[in-house]
Symmetry: C2
Subunit: 472 residues, 2 copies
């Protein structure tokens, strides 16, 4: 694949200069954070706040209008009410900015009048060859240069290889949590909003070629671009990197709701869309939890070629539930070699217990002095009959660092590890420490196993594609 | 139904005197908490710690053996290793205790030898007419008198009307979190373990008749009692109160795992079991999240006769996802009356937005000064076209108390409300405050809607039963 730098969207992610129209000095307004985040996170480019009532915003010289900025402007972030947006777009055209980001709602989603105003903006921009994202959207975000368009105060942008495409600002209220609490390591984020101009095909084209993107997680309510192109792009990209798709508006009621908030018209049945996704190798998810869980697992973990899992849990009953989830999601119980089983005897009670699933609760009653988890993994990690591990942890937050190292050593050997905790409040130290080593921690066996299984699901997608060109 | 006080299990939940064999003074051991919890939570009965090496444990006189206690003993909690347990059981028989609780693992689940030891204990107890729970179990718990058998330090037992039956100590590592973080309001808990004597039918019989139990949540790996009786009990109880069933060991691999940790033999296919549950009106769930989510919703909220839901979310895209989940789980979008819609105009933008789902993100851009959530609910709460509400909240933890009151007023009018938050870390004040008013808060739209829909699902179960005697 080509490097994405030639693509028209590149300037949106890598602008050298950004004007923010509607910049605010008032920290209680959402517009404050447009400049606030760029300053706080040290965006690596020039920032020109535009506000006729301010001389300076957060130490940056403020300008009364776009037209009063004499330097070159790569991207104009236009964040004024819908009524005033078309006038600013005219100024963007006059100033020959390279790209426009439109945040305001109140266009095609409100009916005929809004649709007309939107079309008129589009006409003007097209005439001048200027591309635009939105309206009714908040993006882009690029963790490499800390360019970020957001209405909330963002504390950090941990760098990684996960890129998002959203149709609406669905992520916005949970963005800070995703970054600092849920520990996503981000590459880029594109929010499309009403998709007046830039649409999901553009986003896929760019991120598909982006060497800094290892996995794409995409939220869609409608396909605005060409359906055939969309499918071809997906088919091509999924040979190289996993694409997770949350398509909402699945049901008739959902489609009506979608229409009322981004003005999208959903004209194909969900069954058709589902078939398109399957045939093109995308992984479809139903809700936001699965969406972010899978995004995380693909960014964190190595591929999973085979599907034999070794499990250990604290109460034995947890193993039964976990085993059920494995079978449901297409993983099989590994059968450890006789050598591995022999090594497990050191941490087993005298009567012996099965090697897989391994009952850590029983083990730790009889071997309290040693680190039974460490012994378990050392006994099994090199077993060629085991491809991956699913581990249930108790509340040992005082040992977080030790666990993180033990688990990440296993992952370094190419064997994915997923963890879940009995008590999500263990979050304090344990989850943070483990996830700083990219050991993913989930709040339940069901979610951990679903995520682990997705790694194998994607491997199967790649395999079938290479063999057959298409698959069911 | 009769009051449960006549049932043999009543002495297990309401003992006047409890001996704890294996009581420990060392706070680092699990046995410490057997007496520790009774003292800390002020169990309303006499406690006799049995420990030959101690004179006193936590201010209570300790006894060298069961035989040295001269007073009457209702329940003997026997928490010594499997090897020593049969000898203590003999002492229980000699002392004529009324019931025995056996915590040790190492019996039928370890093979022939363990099975023989277990059978011998059972024979002895049966001869003397003494009933026993376990072995390999941790219970009972009764929030009314704070009788609790647990290996972990339990901080509080919030009183409510939810009762549990577990097959294994699955709940144990998350018990504190469930009570203090997840905010379950408990009536009673029975953990069955190997089900040597007391089984799931006994538990259902007792809790079905217990006036302090409004909902029963049951975890099973196998049915030890009579299958027909089990079904009859379920059919009878589900006319009066919902029964949620998590049956694990669904798959062949899961069944093998179950056998290795409680010695249960699962001899009927999961499909048969599934049909039994459906025909008897139980609500089957797949994993622990759904299990506890539904347990909570039935304890917190009033019944839901009809299924028309009004939704409000912060980003519009969230409403689309939520609407999808409603349709999947059997709820329909309410159509608010013209009067309700007129009242919503006060918190809508000038161009008007749909009443349901209502876009709170748009509303609060144009009406920042007022409490838009309050206005939304006031506009809709008395609308006869609306049966229940699903509400997405942002991080307004400083307004937690206000929200709690607004929502609980709606619930008092008989209209269930479920809430979910964009950022689970809002937990700090918001979730705690809302749930102290029994307004349930979930971490995602999917889980909130599933829980809300379960209320209606149970209503349908009751209705069909009354009409037809059975249902599909």
């Amino acid at each position: 694949m080509n490097n994405g730098a030639d693509h028209f969207l590149d300037i949106f992610f890598n602008p050298k200069s950004v004007a923010v129209v509607g910049a605010s000095r008032n920290p209680d307004t959402v517009n404050f954070h447009l400049v606030g985040n760029l300053v706080k996170l040290k965006f690596q480019g020039k920032v020109y706040p535009v506000n006729p009532n301010a001389k300076e915003i957060l130490g940056l010289k403020a300008y009364p209008s776009l037209l009063s900025i004499k330097d070159e402007i790569d991207i104009a972030v236009v964040s004024v009410p819908a009524m005033k947006t078309p006038d600013i777009v005219k100024e963007c055209v006059e100033r020959k900015v390279k790209g426009v980001v439109l945040t305001a709602g109140g266009f095609s989603e409100i009916g005929t009048k809004g649709k007309e105003a939107q079309n008129e903006m589009l006409r003007l921009l097209r005439e001048s060859g200027i591309r635009a994202t939105g309206p009714n959207s908040l993006s882009p975000i690029n963790s490499r240069n800390n360019f970020i368009v957001s209405f909330g105060p963002v504390e950090k942008l941990p760098r990684g290889y996960l890129s998002f495409i959203f149709q609406s600002g669905l992520y916005e209220p949970r963005f800070n949590w995703l970054m600092s609490g849920f520990h996503l390591y981000l590459s880029k984020l594109l929010d499309l909003g009403n998709k007046m101009d830039v649409n999901e095909c553009d986003g896929l084209e760019y991120l598909g070629n982006d060497p800094e993107t290892k996995v794409i997680a995409m939220h869609l309510e409608s396909v605005a671009g060409d359906g055939r192109k969309f499918m071809q792009l997906l088919s091509k990209i999924t040979r190289e990197k996993p694409v997770i798709v949350l398509k909402s508006g699945r049901t008739a009621a959902g489609a009506r709701a979608a229409s009322s908030h981004t003005g999208a018209i959903i004209n194909s049945s969900d069954a058709v869309f589902d078939a398109v996704l399957r045939q093109s190798g995308a992984i479809r998810v139903l809700g936001l939890e699965e969406f972010f869980d899978l995004a995380k697992v693909f960014e964190y973990l190595p591929p999973l070629k085979n599907n034999r899992v070794a499990i250990t849990t604290l109460p034995g009953g947890e193993a039964v539930i976990t085993t059920d989830f494995c079978q449901i999601h297409g993983l099989v119980m590994a059968e450890p070699s006789p050598e591995s089983c022999a090594r497990l005897r050191d941490i087993s009670p005298s009567w012996g217990i099965p090697a897989n699933p391994f009952d850590m609760g029983v083990s730790s009653q009889f071997h309290p002095g040693i680190n039974t988890y460490k012994a378990f993994l050392e006994a099994l990690v090199d077993d060629p009959n085991i491809d991956c591990f699913a581990i249930h942890l108790g509340g040992w937050r005082h040992r977080a660092g030790q666990f993180a190292k033990i688990f990440s050593e296993v992952i370094k050997k190419g064997k994915p590890v997923v963890v879940w905790t009995a008590d999500p409040r263990d979050g304090g130290g344990l989850i943070e420490e483990l996830e700083s080593y990219r050991v993913p921690v989930y709040p339940s066996a069901g979610r951990a196993i679903r995520a682990l299984a997705a790694l194998h699901q994607y491997h199967m997608i790649q395999e079938r594609k290479y063999e057959q060109g298409t698959y069911v």
